[in-house]
């Protein structure tokens, strides 16, 4: 993980410098020397020190060896699942919570290759309706209504 640590260290140095500079403007607004800038600037100093230590470890070869790593096919599967979730957040606002959730669950289970259409439909329906009912009738917490003005 030498390369990763080296890059992370550089990134952290840049971040700490930016945080130190950006928070210095807060000192101009208040008169107290322990104002809003104090804590972020203190943290940025420590982040800078840790970044240097990370880089030094990487150069000396003391970075931990790479353990379990990401499975490429699994990563693609995960990325697509996140995309489906983003789509769910968008279509939920159009078609409402319960229907949107049913569609999301059914699509995701199908994508993950869950066998059995009946099982998929039943699980999606039960899960989305149960949560909808709990939030609507038991907790009385509003859920997205969709463009037709009802949450179903």
């Amino acid at each position: 993980m030498r390369g990763a640590d080296f890059k992370a260290g550089i990134g952290m140095i840049l971040l700490s410098l930016w945080v130190f500079w950006y928070s210095s403007r807060y000192a101009e607004v208040v008169i107290n020397i322990y104002g809003p800038n104090f804590f972020p600037q203190t943290l940025s100093v420590f982040i800078f020190i840790c970044a240097i230590m990370l880089i030094v470890n990487a150069i000396k070869g003391k970075s931990p060896s790479k353990g379990e790593w990401i499975d490429p096919k699994g990563f693609v599967r995960m990325t697509i699942a996140i995309g489906i979730c983003v789509g769910y957040i968008l279509w939920m606002q159009v078609i409402g919570f319960a229907m949107g959730s049913f569609v999301f669950l059914w699509i995701l289970m199908t994508f993950l290759k869950q066998k059995g259409v009946v099982k998929r439909v039943a699980s999606s329906a039960v899960a989305s309706l149960t949560v909808w009912a709990i939030f609507r009738y038991f907790l009385v917490i509003p859920l997205p209504t969709g463009m037709w003005g009802f949450t179903f």
Partner: protein, 498 residues
């Protein structure tokens, strides 16, 4: 300790059927979450917190205590049946639990595990009830320097025990603290790092961050791996242990419960450490230590009493000082804050109407756990066979709902998703997530009290070193970090020599 108030609280909690209902729901949900490998008690609490928003404070907290206790116990079911602990706290249980299952005694193992969890949880709840008010009295003497030192102590401990690398733990903690600076400055009210966004004025909300760190990240890992678990093939029969069997392990139960309570009360430790300490102590003092690992009841009783003993133990620093004992109590602390309560010494001064019901609810939860565990063992065993391709999307769905329901904001959902993606990658680069969670809770306390202390002392940092309680916490935190660093160096040196 006001005994009259305590008995009143017992009567109120136990005589109200709705309290029993919520504890029952919490215990059942916790056992299910705990029994399923890939889900943790922390995740269960995080996902179910939104379901407590519409409840009264005490009922919500009782449900979460139920999830906590049930979650820690539930991990033993999969540890015994399929040699895969449902939660890290059950890792020691499989050492003798699975061999017992192989001998055809799965039901007996689960029965003993249930009784042991009940014993550990009850003893620790009683200790918590009687010791917490005394610790809170000491806490009332704390000023800003002591609260800063306490926050530093809590962060220091969690950093040292998270992950293999101290440096990576510190970096995680610092990033967590940096995240807490987003939003209104607590002392001057000035917005910081909001970049003109109204959604960020309140800072990064705790629940979405929590769901991102422990909910989404785990879901992403599950989807990436999509591993199938071995099916439960063992028959779960003869669950109720005989009285003679319980008598034979009684000494182990009590000792392990006390060990678990003590270990759990140290901030930063948790059920997993308590379980292993209890197991190794039981083995060390046993007349037949060579039998441990071959499938004996003592080998199941010790870790289960230990890990459930840690439940009450972890609540002690959380309730009395506002420093969580482990990740799950960190979630409970967040839940109390959401319900308008600030854990710490002031809770005992101003909200005894909540504190005593928590104590009595905790004790009631152990009885409910015993009933549900023994009666529902066969059902919970079958739940392990639920198809992951159905379960994982449902958990994903609950993460979205949970992160939305805090402020009815899709911004929180997006933020939670982003945090989840970051946490997913963090694990592969060996940056622990627990320090970020603790930093989100302790960061504001650390910043406010640090600045107040320096203002009081006109900038003189010696204020932190001239007050004994403050000095104690600071020295202990530094000492723990130094010993952890030396231990890691030794581990790395021994790995290199192999």
């Amino acid at each position: 300790m006001d005994f009259e108030l305590l008995f009143d609280a017992f009567a109120t909690v136990m005589l109200d059927p709705m309290n029993f209902f919520f504890v029952f729901i919490g215990i059942t949900a916790g056992i299910i979450v705990g029994a399923l490998p890939g889900l943790t008690a922390t995740m269960g609490c995080a996902l179910l917190i939104p379901f407590t928003f519409g409840l009264e404070t005490v009922q919500g907290i009782l449900m979460l205590i139920g999830i906590f206790s049930g979650g820690i116990y539930g991990g033993s079911i999969s540890a015994i049946l399929i040699r895969t602990p449902g939660t890290p706290a059950a890792a020691a249980t499989l050492l003798d639990g699975y061999p017992l299952c192989q001998k055809g005694l799965a039901g007996k193992a689960i029965g003993v595990s249930t009784v042991a969890s009940f014993c550990g949880g009850t003893i620790s709840a009683l200790i918590m009830t009687f010791i917490s008010p005394q610790i809170a009295k000491i806490g009332l003497k704390f000023g800003p320097p002591e609260f800063f030192a306490l926050a530093f102590f809590g962060l220091g401990i969690i950093i040292t025990i998270s992950g293999r690398s101290l440096l990576r733990g510190i970096i995680s903690g610092l990033f967590g603290l940096l995240i807490t600076t987003i939003g209104y400055d607590p002392l001057s009210g000035l917005p910081r790092f909001t970049f003109g966004s109204r959604d960020l004025l309140g800072g990064v909300t705790f629940i979405p961050a929590l769901i991102g760190l422990f909910g989404y990240a785990q879901v992403f890992r599950n989807i990436e791996k999509m591993q199938l678990l071995p099916a439960v093939r063992s028959k779960v029969e003869h669950i109720f242990p005989k009285l003679s069997e319980i008598r034979s392990i009684l000494k182990t139960l009590v000792k392990s419960s006390l060990i678990g309570t003590f270990v759990g009360s140290i901030p930063g430790t948790g059920g997993d450490i308590a379980a292993f300490v209890a197991y190794s102590e039981a083995k060390r003092t046993s007349k037949n230590p060579e039998l441990f690992g071959t499938g004996i009841l003592e080998g199941v009783a010790a870790p289960e009493a230990g890990n459930n003993g840690a439940v009450g133990g972890a609540m002690i620093p959380m309730l009395t000082l506002g420093v969580p004992g482990d990740a799950v109590t960190a979630v409970l602390l967040g839940a109390l804050t959401i319900h308008g309560l600030q854990p710490g010494p002031m809770l005992f001064r101003d909200h005894l109407d909540v504190v005593y019901p928590i104590f009595s609810g905790m004790i009631m939860a152990q009885f409910v756990l015993l009933l549900v565990g023994l009666a529902g063992a066969k059902v919970f065993a079958r739940i392990i066979n639920i198809d992951r391709k159905i379960l994982t999307p449902i958990i994903f769905f609950l993460c979205v709902v949970g992160s939305y329901s805090m402020q009815f904001s899709f911004f929180d959902v997006g933020l939670s998703l982003v945090i989840g993606i970051i946490a997913y990658f963090m694990e592969y680069y060996e940056y622990p997530a627990s320090p970020i969670l603790l930093a989100l809770i302790l960061g504001p306390m650390a910043e406010q009290n640090l600045r107040r202390s320096l203002m009081i002392a006109h900038g003189n940092p010696l204020i932190f070193f001239t007050r004994p309680i403050c000095l104690f916490f600071l020295v202990t935190a530094v000492f723990t970090m130094v010993t952890s660093y030396r231990r890691q160096k030794r581990m790395i040196a021994s790995e290199d020599s192999i």
